[in-house]
Symmetry: D2
């Protein structure tokens, strides 16, 4: 197979996962170089990656490298995309591209100008079950979309250090749901109302964030959506989606590591859902890289682009404002407010 | 068995169902009389009900009748309760008691003064699956309650005539969900935010109502709740409930008339949910009457009282206001507004 | 409603259940008399049954009584059917009619001669889920029937006293499955192979019976069937059925008292199945009586007749022989052997 | 990672699957050579396998190759294992090792003498769901094993050419179930009774085989097992397993490519099971290779060895005899009969 030469920037937990997927499960990729400030040399060598460095230049300056996977710390994503774009390299970037809509808009411009493909890591768009759900929606089986329900609950509250630099629940966690609602509805979010609280861990509150939320969305096509979130569902990573319409409903339930069912006097017991996004979305993480490399080869569009990142962040900005001001917020108003303009 | 002598006022569709349940499935009851303006004589005779009349007096004035089941048209409920209370009879009344909080408060006073038992037809409180869910909540299995989710969708939009006199989606339909959230959380609703639209049938909009809604609730104990509604889920009566907490989650899924599963090339096909509340809540409708008669005999409390009706209507008032004004509404504010007072 | 006057003979556990169903849930019946050797007077009075006696004559000699429900001890069923037939009364008889095929044949003749309706208590034929399964088979959705699977497991091994007079596992318990296979396949059993053992309780072995069995059946239409049985499934009454065919499969799973699902760190826990036949087949027990009374009024056939009882007992005879001789047994051979004839 | 150098002999459909798994999903392996009579050169090159030939010698004579994966045509398995053993190479061999117990015994001896690891491709022993089921059995959650149920149905009847050289249903298909019963019970099969027929396709009968079977097994520990098989379940690859015991039951249901559920007026529709063993057991096929390579490195036992292959074939021999003679067959008797000895 004619492989695309790839470089990886950032090899923390997520970076390692993407790199291992590229090496083991993405035959279209040849990973030539990995750069990371605290690079795990043994790990990189075990994957037979030829070039290993703490210097991003080994990726950005190598003319053989056609595509860059950016999984550095979130705050550096936008700058690294700009650098890669300037070097004429296609980019797969983990979310978030940035927390500020303006920054993302600049990235969009830079990518457009450089003529590169830019895919954002909204992994759910590549999940087999969600794609199957979408097939039912697109085929018209459920008619016009009326209501979308998303349940997104993490199995365990993150460390407070992470909470502090995460951008907050809406930007770090609910952002996936904003994108999912856009993906499932094929429509834009026009208004957001967010309520939330600190019910899981007071330390999250002390860090200035919330851990529980319910977000209601109005979409441009008149449909409604509702998202419920928690940082901690002790029984596992709870990922459920439903699109309800005029001719029916289509839903995706949790997946489990095994279909085992034990029946005893205590009950009929199934396995709890997966323990996190790595196992739940394993196939999606591989599929999104293959879609990206397909786009690089001109075989189709990227799974999610910077415009999608922008739309999701705008919804997060509105959700934050809604939560703080305890009122529904329109996205155009939120966009204006974020730019410092007066909102009537 | 020592039976309680019962009279029924109102024998339309719901009245007939309750009466048949009393005769066939509630051994504690002897139905002596039924009164209804357009009484179906053949039906009443087939049930061997001795006294049949278009005049409510045969129920209200009969000293042998200890308890009255009021299933007349909604607008007459409050007045009939007052009359029955004045006659010293215990009352089971279908919801709604009334659409105005003040009227319900008057009913509460009248019942209290007369020293009668008054139960309201919030049938879900007597549903075996919901009671089983509650058992899990009360036993502490799921820890502190964080989020409640209710999906309530009717199988078929009602006739426009019904829509016009129904009191509107929040008062006729979502009212059950407001009560359910109070029941499941054991806490009071303090704030309501409602969005909705006319997505099922434009004629419902023309009649001044909506057919689709998402309602977010804040509860006194800090928990959140979200309700999604539709007047028409073509696949059946969709009734799902989930209480999520610090130690887990408990849910009740739809029930079906049969557990049949057919596997063919077209899919693995289960039966759709029940086709309406009569079949879905059959056991609940019987159980609520038995609970009421048990309360009449002093064996326990009623399943839902007029205070519960009042709380649910107050939430409906707030939801209507929230929908109209496009902002969250606090229940005390809604109560004040409903009384014509100024809300700051 | 024009009611059929019914008498009950035998008011032990099952007799009481049928009588209560007749009184509370079968509007077509008026229970005029109940006779039982150790009659519970208080119970009979609480049901307002006018005639209560230890003498069967109050039922058999009352010209007003049109139909008799026989739920006396198993050994007396055949004789009571003959007496009722002689009195010109229609008969609903609990299974077993008898343990010997010849006796059942005599009963068949007696009923035919008397021109009465005779229904046998194969309750599963009236179960909503099994009827729904049959509807899929009959409609051709699964094509030609290839294989039938039945799992029949009781929640708790019966008392040894019962085991001793039960007729043995094949006659007391698997007999329902023999009938079910005939019902589901619409074909006759032609060969039986039975293996089994004492795995639940050695006392059952000491009483000359087994508690676990797997029975393979060949049917006249070429289909195969397999039944697995246990006297004790600690998690509940396990009743599962599957018909597999050329165009698909249709199955009925266990039902549960509630659809509750609790998700905690320990698993995703559903309720165990019902705790016995009374709760699992509640609707079937009522429906079979209504079908019987419908047949009495000429509105349709009985749900299962004495020929069905005969066929099931013949299969049980063959199963016992197969188990004892450790070889497959053809039903015609078993029938001959049971008559003392030589089988080549 | 220190990789084990592997050679593959036989690159038909299954051989290609194993090779691709070795290259893409088994980091412990380096596939140096592939030999196959009709080798697909483009395919082998796309996997970057250095040595590609139609001559097995490139695998068997290469001193660098430590382990051989044998996926040649079934008739050549035993001879190839002997050759690989003689060359001192560890062997993973697809089932069947051979159709005759004696041949397998010779292979067992040859492997033992050579001191090599020999693993047989009973893939289910490496399936996550079945391993999870086993964990419940071994932990004692379900108590003593009483009954095992296996449903094994292929989605589509194989081509008649394949049927003719397959060894027949019991040797080609049910052999997996014989092994599964041994694996799940931890006990040996002592008696087999098999019934079957040609219900799917008359051409299968014309080729001297059957397409539908029910097999009952008695195990050494007193437990019973029942297997039902079909060559064609039009709704997909039906793989269900249940172990029932004194303290409960544990089961594994079918898996599906997606958890999608579509609810419309036509029903609540889930996806059909996987379309064949490649997708259903994808994880198992990878895991079994990793277990084999772990055993080669001395990290643990193989997942299934030649003794397991022998036991399964002995059960198949007994099943064939049982089916032909229409009687239960003991395995020692079958073994004796297969050797031409007299069985009393």
């Amino acid at each position: 197979m004619n492989q695309t030469t790839v470089g990886v920037i950032g090899a923390g937990r997520i970076g390692k996962m993407h790199t291992e997927n590229l090496v083991h499960a993405v035959p279209e990729a040849f990973v030539k170089a990995v750069a990371s400030p605290h690079l795990d040399e043994d790990w990189a060598e075990s994957l037979s990656i030829p070039v290993r460095s703490i210097d991003n230049a080994v990726v950005l300056d190598d003319p053989e490298i056609e595509a860059v996977v950016i999984t550095a710390s979130s705050g550096r994503h936008a700058e690294l995309i700009r650098q890669a774009a300037a070097a004429g390299k296609h980019v797969f970037c983990e979310k978030p591209v940035a927390f500020e809509p303006d920054t993302i808009e600049e990235v969009v411009q830079a990518a457009r100008k450089a003529g590169i493909k830019l895919q954002v890591g909204f992994n759910r768009r590549s999940d087999p079950s969600l794609l199957d759900l979408m097939e039912a929606v697109r085929s018209g089986q459920i008619g016009d979309v009326h209501t979308i329900r998303v349940t997104n609950r993490d199995p365990k509250a993150p460390p407070i250090d992470f909470v502090k630099r995460s951008g907050g629940l809406f930007f770090d966690f609910v952002i996936h749901d904003f994108d999912t609602v856009r993906f499932l509805s094929g429509s834009e979010i026009v208004e957001v109302y967010a309520v939330g609280g600190v019910l899981v861990d007071p330390a999250i509150g002390a860090a200035g964030d919330i851990d529980t939320a319910v977000v209601t969305l109005r979409l441009a096509n008149g449909a409604l959506a509702v998202i419920d979130n928690s940082r901690q569902a002790v029984y596992g990573y709870d990922q459920r989606f439903e699109v309800f319409g005029s001719a029916g409903s289509v839903a995706v339930d949790n997946t489990t590591p095994s279909t085992r069912v034990v029946s005893t006097t205590g009950g009929v017991v199934r396995r709890t859902p997966h323990d996190g996004f790595v196992s739940r979305y394993r196939e999606a993480f591989i599929a999104e890289l293959r879609t990206f490399l397909g786009a690089v080869r001109g075989e189709g569009p990227v799974a999610a682009d910077a415009e999608d990142a922008l739309a999701a962040v705008r919804a997060a900005v509105a959700a934050r404002e809604s939560f703080q001001q305890q009122r529904p917020v329109r996205l155009d108003a939120a966009a204006s407010a974020a730019k410092g303009e007066t909102v009537s």
